[in-house]
């Protein structure tokens, strides 16, 4: 009688990669729900498009690479990439935007680098940058929150406008962007940027209807929803608290100092934290394990670097929001960060003493 031979340990906890990826995707649900309710249902259509594209591209490449397809599709990593890209782009962007973006993310950024675990860059963010650089118009056509829109949009309108560029009732996206007064509205960050460049003070700009409380109308809730999802992930020990904390803290500290130095031109820390994609990026994008730093100290450095880059680009750069660029730049720094932040091994002297 022979027995099964296996290497120790023979026991394993039941948390698999698929489980982790699924949990992260699920933690996005509050944010997705808020976006759907406050900004229209376009995001749901984008999600469907993205996920289908991701699975198809992944399957295609896995097939070409001669790898088992089904087991790898089940790891949910393609799903998560698709979700993150879908919720990052404007909800009413044309269908081919998300298709190109997702296909690029999966095929070029992930699989061509060797598949899961081997990509240098965050696939969703690399794709986002590709889209932003290639299709700047489509990628900046954010509709204002439904409450500020002049035309009520039904879910069917979302489908129509994504696939045909016009809503079912025939409005084009620029028309939909205009508010009741006929003034085109962009995201709060965009608006603030435009206003400041026109010589308005911060206070004058913040009095516009697109802003609410200390952040943008709708955007505050969206960020709060992602914050909640992120806190859930930390509580579940899916992600480490270090990267989100470092991102938020560095952005907070830098903008606090800057706003004290230049109160009329630089928005305060709360505005920065709850505008644009801060919470989404801090909890869901920067924490992508594959492309982020892996050491505890390194994670703090990595997060702080993202916060710094976002602060710089938002306030002094050419783009209203900057998480995609910041994350990609920090991704490049990861090998270096990891190398210099190795932990001290038990029984070994600290590295500083060795030199």
């Amino acid at each position: 009688m022979s027995f099964k031979i296996a290497s120790s340990p023979h026991q394993h906890n039941q948390r698999s990669t698929a489980h982790i990826m699924r949990l992260v995707a699920l933690a996005c649900l509050p944010g997705i729900a808020v976006q759907a309710v406050l900004f229209g249902y376009g995001v749901l259509i984008q999600l469907v498009l993205a996920i289908v594209t991701a699975w198809l591209s992944e399957a295609l490449i896995l097939k070409l690479r001669g790898k088992p397809v089904l087991s790898r599709l089940k790891d949910n990593s393609a799903l998560l990439t698709a979700v993150l890209l879908a919720i990052a782009i404007p909800p009413y962007a044309p269908w081919w935007i998300i298709v190109i973006g997702t296909a690029f993310a999966i095929i070029m950024v992930k699989q061509l680098y060797g598949g899961l675990g081997n990509n240098l860059f965050n696939p969703a963010m690399a794709a986002y940058v590709l889209l932003l650089v290639s299709f700047p118009l489509q990628m900046t056509q954010w509709l204002p929150p439904l409450s500020l829109q002049s035309v009520d949009l039904t879910p069917l309108d979302a489908v129509c406008s994504i696939f045909t560029h016009y809503s079912c009732s025939g409005f084009s996206l620029p028309q939909l962007q205009a508010n009741i007064d006929g003034i085109t509205m962009a995201t709060p960050l965009d608006t603030l940027r435009t206003d400041l460049s026109r010589g308005l003070t911060l206070d004058e700009s913040l009095s516009r209807p697109v802003f609410f409380a200390f952040a943008g109308t709708g955007w505050l809730w969206l960020n709060l929803a992602y914050l909640a999802g992120g806190l859930l992930l930390i509580q579940q020990k899916i992600i480490s608290w270090r990267i989100p904390l470092a991102v938020i803290a560095s952005l907070f500290v830098l903008s606090a100092i800057a706003t004290l130095a230049a109160p009329d031109t630089i928005a305060g820390p709360l505005f920065h934290l709850f505008s644009g994609g801060t919470m989404l990026a801090a909890f869901f994008i920067a924490t992508d394990p594959v492309s982020a730093s892996t050491t505890n100290k390194g994670r703090l450095v990595y997060g702080a670097l993202i916060g710094l880059l976002v602060f710089l680009i938002r306030n002094f750069g050419g783009y209203p929001d900057a998480y995609a660029f910041a994350v990609l730049l920090a991704n490049m720094a990861v090998p270096l960060i990891d190398y210099y932040t190795r932990p001290r091994t038990y029984g070994h002297r600290p590295r500083s003493e060795l030199k």
């Binding site: 009688m1 022979s2 027995f3 099964k4 031979i5 296996a6 290497s7 120790s8 340990p9 023979h10 026991q11 394993h12 906890n13 948390r15 698999s16 990669t17 489980h19 982790i20 087991s71 790898r72 790891d75 990593s77 598949g115 899961l116 675990g117 081997n118 480490s240 394990p289 594959v290 982020a292 892996t294 050491t295 505890n296 990891d338 190795r342 932990p343 001290r344 091994t345 038990y346 029984g347 070994h348 002297r349």
Partner: protein, 739 residues
């Protein structure tokens, strides 16, 4: 800030990095008493059950052995003997599947128990009265090796001479399922404490720390009660976390100290012993009960009755499982050890050994088999779990790349293979397996490198040796050649050149002018001799005057002789006549010769010495003597020519001159004449003899010296002698010139 000891006394606990919390599942077994297994049909006793070397086999096939009888010797410090767990007969000694992850066959003694369980003679010790050496040898002879899993010989750890601050008793038992130590403490706490007493006697620590995980409240209470009389024994209940029972981790937990890289706990004043080891020590010392059995947790859902059993060493695993109602499943795994660090068994004939703490037969639901390995997503859950603060995901990367430099840089060697990383890995990568392979590769590489280095060293040593031998050979050849040359020159297998040289030297020595420093002396002597000669002539003149008065013809014959001497033949006769007639002058001649004799005599002695030294080489001496003789003959002739006349020097100047010119014409005749003259001139003979001996010896020396000069003399004495001889010669010559 209180000191470390105060903090420890106050019950402070620290923490170590990482660790995991797998389900303990100890409740299967930790509530039931220890069952005693019946003696099985066969006992399989591997000869080596510890880290170290096997002792020499003391029994042979067919021997009957008694319970507790030593089967292997404790013949060196790393050997721990194996004993017969019960009385019976040695059936065979053959290779048998070993209780090791490799399952490679190892030499195993198969014992057939006779069921009598008959003990050998036992000699309990009183540990308070016997010395440490006796205790240590008892511990070694009782076959005690660390029972926590590593199996390090206990007597080595207990016999440390380094000062020990803390003796830590490891009763953590952090692996899931295992409750063997738990039950041991529950049932035998007092014996364990006696074992600790013995260890304290040997090591003399400042404090004893007994670490027990908080999932063993009964055991902890039992130990506390047993230790209540001991002041410096501290029972420390530590939180359940795997791997708290690792040596380094427990040290950090209880003392906040880290064992420095590459060192042992003893280097920081800490010794750790397993609680089961302490029990075995107490049994060995107090009862002379060697290590014959151990408690094994038999657990898993495939068993009807999972429980702890007291099993004789050598009991096959099948007997344990059968006793607990084993129901095998398809794809069954049977694990020896815990689920984290144990190894699967290929078959159930593997025996229980000293380090076996658990036999696990889980169902597939209980411990699901590993599913397919996925890609690492660099989540670094492994790094968070690693108790050694390593970066397992980096190590995996470099293990796959077989980059041993990077693996060393990331301290792969510090991996304790606890399995925490693989336990948490969401991609189910068998990380520990990768590390084991990488470690084995590195060991292999190091072995290869060492081998290559040794081979290189051997090769270089060989080359050096050959080179040296060559050098030596060349040197020897050169020396031999030189010696041969020297010998050739010395023995003068006589080259014409050497001969010629010798002749030239001799001639030079004869004609050489007197030494500068002897000049005055010589002049003085010459003056003296002139004075003597004048005196003599005066005297002679007076005598002649008297003669002329009595013998008017006395001068006549001389005159005639002088005329006859024109004929060379007659020259010698004339000389002889002259000498005969100059008998009266003998007195004066004697005086003259005595003076001459004074100087040559010491020379003769020295000359003899030189002859003696020359005799070292008889051939050389013989040749030299021959030369000397030849020379001496020549010399004699000249001597005769010069020394004979002095008798008539004053009176017959003319004939002397005549004979001087005539003698060379026929030297032979001259010699005969001289001999005749000598015979006739009896009184003069003695003087002549001395005169002859000296030159002979001198010539020998000169001949020798010439040879020596040619070979480069290194004997200053010889040189001195030669100088003396030269001086004597010069003097003689001066004399002859003078006369």
């Amino acid at each position: 800030m209180p000191g470390l000891f105060q903090q420890i006394q106050a019950g402070k606990l620290w923490d170590f990095h990482g660790g995991i919390h797998p389900p303990g599942r100890k409740e299967q077994t930790n509530q039931k008493p220890i069952a005693v297994l019946p003696i099985p049909d066969r006992l399989y006793l591997p000869l080596r059950q510890h880290i170290g070397v096997a002792g020499q086999l003391l029994v042979k096939v067919g021997d009957r052995v008694l319970k507790g009888q030593q089967l292997t010797g404790a013949d060196n410090s790393m050997a721990v003997p194996v004993h017969a767990p019960t009385s019976g007969t040695v059936l065979s000694i053959t290779p048998h599947t070993s209780p090791h992850p490799s399952a490679l066959p190892e030499l195993t003694l198969v014992l057939e128990p006779d069921g009598l369980d008959e003990w050998r003679q036992r000699e309990p010790l009183n540990f308070l009265t016997c010395d440490n050496l006796t205790l240590l040898s008892r511990i070694q002879d009782s076959g005690i090796a660390g029972m926590g899993g590593a199996g390090f010989p206990t007597h080595i750890k207990a016999g440390l001479t380094q000062p020990v601050d803390y003796l830590i008793i490891n009763a953590v038992e952090c692996e899931p399922y295992i409750s063997a130590d738990d039950l041991l403490m529950q049932e035998a706490a007092t014996t364990i404490v006696k074992g600790i007493d013995i260890l304290c006697r040997l090591l003399n620590p400042k404090a004893v720390l007994i670490g027990i995980e908080d999932d063993k409240p009964i055991a902890a209470a039992a130990m506390m009660a047993a230790c209540s009389q001991r002041e410096h024994y501290y029972v420390r209940v530590v939180p359940t976390k795997y791997p708290s029972g690792g040596e380094k981790q427990l040290i950090q937990l209880l003392t906040n100290k880290e064992v420095p890289n590459g060192r042992r706990p003893a280097d920081i004043g800490i010794v750790m012993q397993n609680v089961g080891t302490a029990f075995a020590i107490a049994q060995a010392v107090l009862d002379d009960h060697p290590l014959l059995s151990r408690i094994v947790t038999v657990a898993g859902d495939t068993l009807n009755q999972p429980q702890n059993v007291l099993a004789l060493l050598g009991t096959p695993v099948s007997a344990l499982l059968d006793a607990c109602g084993f129901q095998s499943q398809p794809q069954q795994r049977v694990i020896m050890g815990g689920p984290m660090m144990g190894f699967t068994l290929p078959d159930l004939s593997v025996p229980v050994v000293k380090t076996t703490n658990c036999v696990l037969a889980p169902t597939a639901q209980e411990l699901p088999a590993a599913s397919t390995e996925m890609d690492c997503i660099r989540c670094s859950a492994c790094a968070d779990a690693c108790p050694a603060s390593l970066l397992p995901q980096q190590l995996l990367w470099y293990s796959k790349a077989k980059d041993s430099d990077k693996l060393n840089e990331y301290n792969l060697a510090d991996c304790i293979e606890c399995g925490a990383c693989a336990y948490v890995c969401p991609s189910e990568i068998p990380l520990v397996q990768y590390y084991r392979v990488a470690k084995a590769d590195i060991r292999e590489q190091q072995r290869e490198a060492l081998k290559a280095e040794q081979a290189k060293a051997r090769f270089e040593a060989r080359n050096a040796r050959l080179e040296q031998e060559k050098q030596e050979r060349q040197q020897r050849n050169q020396q031999l050649a030189a010696a041969r040359q020297q010998q050739q020159l010395a023995s003068g297998a006589n080259t014409a050149v050497a001969d010629a040289l010798a002749r030239i030297k001799a001639k030079q020595a004869q004609t050489a002018p007197a030494d500068e420093r002897n000049k005055e002396q010589i002049l003085a002597e010459r003056e003296l001799k002139k004075q003597q000669a004048r005196d003599y002539q005066q005297q002679k003149a007076q005598q002649q005057q008297a003669h002329q008065a009595t013998e008017p013809h006395s001068g006549q014959p001389e005159q005639t002789a002088a005329t006859v001497n024109t004929d060379s033949k007659a020259a010698a006769v004339a000389a002889a006549i002259a000498r005969a007639q100059a008998k009266k002058a003998a007195q004066a001649t004697e005086q003259h010769t005595t003076e001459q004799q004074v100087m040559p005599t010491p020379d003769t002695g020295k000359g003899n010495e030189a002859v003696v030294s020359a005799e070292a080489d008889p051939r050389k001496a013989a040749i030299a003597a021959a030369i000397a003789r030849a020379k001496a003959k020549q010399q004699t002739q000249t001597e005769n020519e010069t020394s004979a006349p002095p008798a008539a020097a004053g009176t017959v100047d003319k004939p002397t001159a005549e004979s001087n010119s005539a003698a060379p014409e026929d030297p032979r005749k001259a010699a005969v004449a001289a001999a005749l003259a000598r015979a006739k001139a009896k009184k003069q003979a003695s003087a002549e003899a001395t005169e002859q001996t000296a030159p002979l010896a001198t010539e020998a020396v000169i001949a020798d010296k010439v040879v020596a000069d040619a070979v480069v003399t290194e004997d200053p004495r010889k040189a001195a002698i030669a100088a003396a001889i030269a001086r004597a010669k010069a003097r003689k010559q001066a004399d002859s010139e003078n006369s």
